[in-house]
């Protein structure tokens, strides 16, 4: 792991490369995190790849309700040769949930970005196959958001389709 000092040095270099990219850093439980602007995620990950973080292990979404901006996307980077992990985070507001897709550069993000879209409604611009992945394609709403209620879910049974009531409670 880059330690707290290493993280600041890395963030400083990142700021020199792209002045608007870094919004903040944090060091929590021996784990370094860089928060970046949503517009510069693609370049930032490419820059970090050149620094040795050549594997993207996880992309996942978070809903920070009731904080604003609400939606977050986290990228877990890994440097296998020096056994080093780094988290890159970004936040987008609900009314403009657009993030550049990193799938063209990191094919592993394909399913995971689709899941974040499916569950939180974050739109990944430039994703080659931007569809829902776990929920049915005609599903409305983004179930993993914090203000999405648990339960009361209409269940689709094929037997009900023939009777004209596609959904039953």
């Amino acid at each position: 792991m880059p330690d707290a000092v290493g993280l600041e040095l890395l963030a400083q270099e990142l700021r020199e490369a792209d002045a608007d990219a870094v919004l903040g850093t944090s060091y929590f439980r021996d784990k370094a995190t860089v928060e970046v602007a949503p517009s510069s995620i693609v370049q930032t990950l490419e820059w970090l790849r050149a620094k040795g973080y050549n594997a993207l292990m996880s992309v996942h979404g978070v809903d920070y309700y009731p904080e604003e901006p609400r939606l977050g996307v986290h990228y877990e980077l890994l440097d296998m040769s020096s056994v080093d992990r780094l988290t890159v985070k970004l936040r987008v507001p609900l009314d403009n949930p657009h993030v550049g897709s990193v799938t063209p550069n990191w094919p592993t993000a394909n399913h995971q970005e689709r899941e974040v879209y499916d569950m939180f409604g974050v739109i990944f611009d430039g994703h080659p196959d931007p569809r829902r992945i776990l929920m049915p394609e005609d599903y409305e709403g983004y179930p993993q958001r914090r203000d999405f209620p648990v339960g009361g879910e209409p269940v689709l049974f094929t037997i009900d389709e023939s009777e004209g009531t596609a959904y039953t409670q």
């Binding site: 784990k31 996880s58 979404g61 986290h74 296998m80 592993t108 995971q112 776990l134 389709e161």
Partner: protein, 420 residues
Amino acid sequence: MSTDVTRGASDYRQMEESITMAPLERVDGGELEQELLTLNMGPHHPATHGVLRLLVTLEGEVVRDLKPIIGYVHTGIEKTAEDKNYWKAIPVVERMDYLAYYFNAYAFCGATETLLELEVPPRAQYLRIIHLELNRIMSHLVWLGTSALDIGAMSMFWYCFRDREVILDLFEQSSGQRMHTRYIQVGGVAEDIPRGFEAKLREFTAQMPSRVDQYKALLFNNEIALQRLRGVCPLAEEELLKLGVTGPLLRAAGNPWDLRKATPYCSYDHFDFKIPVGTEGDNWDRFAVRVAEIYESVKIIEQAIDGLPEGPWISDDRKVALPPRHELATSMEALIHHFKLVTEGFRVPPGEVYFPIESPRGELGCFVRSDGSSKPARVHMRDPSFVNLQATAPMTEGSYIADLIATLAMLDPVLGGIDR
């Protein structure tokens, strides 16, 4: 009752047209030898190891394109976990990857312990390792049995399930449950191992290597198994890394990445074991690496039971772990702690943690976000099957459809983990 189901179904059919399939011409402009055929495999298909659906474009018998369609067993466990106390969320996250329940529970408990900065007693760590490695063997046995079945070796299935049964009996002895045991707790494990467990475990570890020898004798020199697996559907290490593939699939391609060695957690650094790696990255290597891992897991279990430290099996932090039963009768304080833990649960300091471990299928990472309350604000499992599934298409393009089945078996996807 009307039997016309096409009316409702047609909308669904239309929506699936958004799936872009392979072009009807060859990319290099050459002539197609056969007309392209789109074949739907699954979601109910014996060889898909669960409710996995594949839309396959075939040219004759050759796979030209493949789209996995998932979500059929999506149960919203991540959402459910947000509605439960930390200790009540353990049983639900265990049910994600139903062949690696100890791993799911450990990833979640490990993330919570990191947030709490909680020290786990050494005996608990060793007990965890014994059960994690038993679970790894159990998962590999199910994989070996079902994938040998896929390539035509029927009897392997019965042999593997016979040995799996012994492991499930051990789980039952230590926790009362055969599957989804909820043995791993935040702060340690639920109970110490009972009398008789050690003897039975030693019996198992003495027997297991010779059993694997027998399986190897059955399969490793088997003409059919060799022809079906050797040199089939390889994928280079760089491609696998780009696709985020970890675990035995990556090790089969020659990359010895194993989190137990790379970033030892739960005192894995106390043990002497090797990481089996392959050379070609074909189906045979994927097969051989997993079989070799069973021997290594047995070695770890033997060392762990030999060196099992004395002491408590769960943290003595009363704010997190339940007080022992006998204290409830004598200590008012213990009663209050018990009441608070069972009703409200423990509170976890705010923060975000990603806790990766090596599951039988690769990197299983649990992301937990706490907002300071007694319920997690977000639980996410980076399930290795979900990510590894993306490698199916690059592995199988240009190979025969029969090899697609073998490759899928060697991929070892568990749909409960994929869909969560």
